[in-house]
Symmetry: C2
Subunit: 299 residues, 2 copies
């Protein structure tokens, strides 16, 4: 599931905060972008900071990362010992280091900084919960989007065959093994199991100009978060600042045939975002606005 923590753009409007989203994959937490004040919003929704293992920073515009050093400091003060991975464009390491040095902070936990790859479809991270790949977004400075895909799930044992499988063999069978029988013959896996659930996927595209070259990578993701800074009326401004309109976000969603579209990064000029959602829905009906602190299941 995903919880947007900030839905504003670079110039924060009253009531909207800079970009950050929290992804929960099987109770392991991944923070995506970390604008100023993210730690306060995490606290407000009652998240235990220690459960965050990774922070992914799409790019080094302040509204996407200025909360990172504060979050790291707080984790330190709260006695974190578990490693924290930070995935970000080149330059984040020095930005963190210079500030830890200035405050003479010697972290009590390992901080591992990973520089993001260039190009789309590169592996960013992989663990037993998710596999994360890159999207080469199109913005004024190097900017990377992410696709989070659930790790392959085990095959499901057929209820009527479970009694045939010795307990110690069940994990192997779930992973696709055939079952050797005492008489030397074997039962093929497909007689014992059914296909697993299809792994779910979430894509995060912020900030980016309209980039149809992303579509091949986004094909069929369950939930696409795509920035929608402006309406079509401001398409000139969108082009100039290398942001997208809500309609363009809808076009990407439609052409990539995603399940649902989540919009965010709303310009402060929009007091409410109904017009942005309506515009996206003209091309892709399953669109909705990200709401801060409201958790959405990925289905």
């Amino acid at each position: 599931e995903i919880t947007p923590l900030g839905t504003g753009a670079a110039l924060p409007a009253r009531g909207r905060h800079p970009s950050a989203q929290l992804l929960n994959a099987s109770e392991e937490l991944y923070l995506i972008d970390c604008g100023e004040g993210t730690q306060e919003r995490l606290r407000r929704i009652g998240v235990n900071f220690m459960r965050i293992g990774h922070v992914f920073i799409s790019h080094l515009h302040g509204d996407h990362y200025l909360g990172l050093v504060g979050l790291i400091s707080t984790m330190h003060l709260m006695g974190r010992t578990r490693v924290l991975h930070v995935h970000a464009p080149e330059g984040i390491g020095s930005i963190i280091d210079i500030q830890l040095q200035a405050s003479r902070t010697y972290l009590r936990f390992p901080l591992k900084v990973h520089v993001l790859p260039e190009g789309s479809g590169q592996e960013v991270w992989s663990d037993r919960f998710v596999r994360v790949t890159s999207l080469a977004l199109v913005h004024r400075i190097p900017c990377v989007g992410f696709i989070f895909k659930e790790a392959p799930l085990p095959r499901n044992l057929r209820k009527e065959k479970v009694h045939l499988i010795p307990h110690f063999m069940r994990q192997a069978v779930k992973e696709g093994a055939d079952l050797a029988l005492p008489d030397g013959s074997s039962l093929p896996n497909e007689e014992l199991t059914t296909d697993p659930m299809v792994p779910r996927s979430f894509a995060y595209c912020s900030d980016t100009a309209y980039a149809p070259e992303l579509i091949e990578h986004l094909l069929g993701v369950d939930l696409l978060y795509h920035e929608a800074t402006f309406t079509e009326q401001m398409s000139g401004r969108a082009k100039e600042t290398m942001h997208s309109t809500a309609r363009q976000a809808g076009m990407i969603a439609r052409d990539a045939n995603v399940g649902r579209l989540l919009l965010g990064h709303f310009s402060s000029r929009y007091k409410d975002v109904d017009a942005l959602v309506a515009e996206a829905r003209t091309v892709f009906p399953h669109a909705q606005a990200a709401e801060e602190g409201i958790t959405l299941p990925i289905v």
Copy 2:
């Protein structure tokens, strides 16, 4: 007048924010410390960012400065052209530069960084509204407090003599000049004016261990802000972390014979701060807790 924007300590508690205070001297605004999220609190109380001409950063612990780069970015995006002065310990320049470079931000306004002096009683800044001098606080990293003293006010014209003073001479008389009469004689200034209001003063001491050597510099200030991170029960912890107890803040206020004492930088262990205020009042009755967003006159 002074408006505390954040009254929390390094580990922010729900409802309390990191250090920042806004000083209004004759409608010119001075920001003192700038913890993460300060720009949001300024927006919330309806402050026009452009009126802030100076930011004073006491030290480079994150809870005192991590909001600075975000504030600068927002001023930039809002089209600021007026110079912004930043007064801070050595190191702030690189911290700002590395982050502006990462985001390829070329400020449209001049940013002047001034490294704070070491030692107490040094001039930090002086303009037609205030004179700011330094206080060598005692903390784990270099840390500077500030005394803001109102610029000398003009003498007051005696009502019954105003008619004697030609309009073009009034400013000079207010500034202390005698009045030359047409007959070649002159009226001494003291017959035309009364003494001006005594300039008001505000001192800001955060963060610091108990430092009685500051008292000679604090003598008679109208309002003293002094950190009170802990109660006496935690005096060991206060010593270890180089913070003060509420009682120690009260002792400084009492021994410097200040007008009023404002307490802040409360440890997150205190859900309410009544015990801290009560403890300070045992030695100095005119003590109160800083409250976020509540403006206090300096009288």
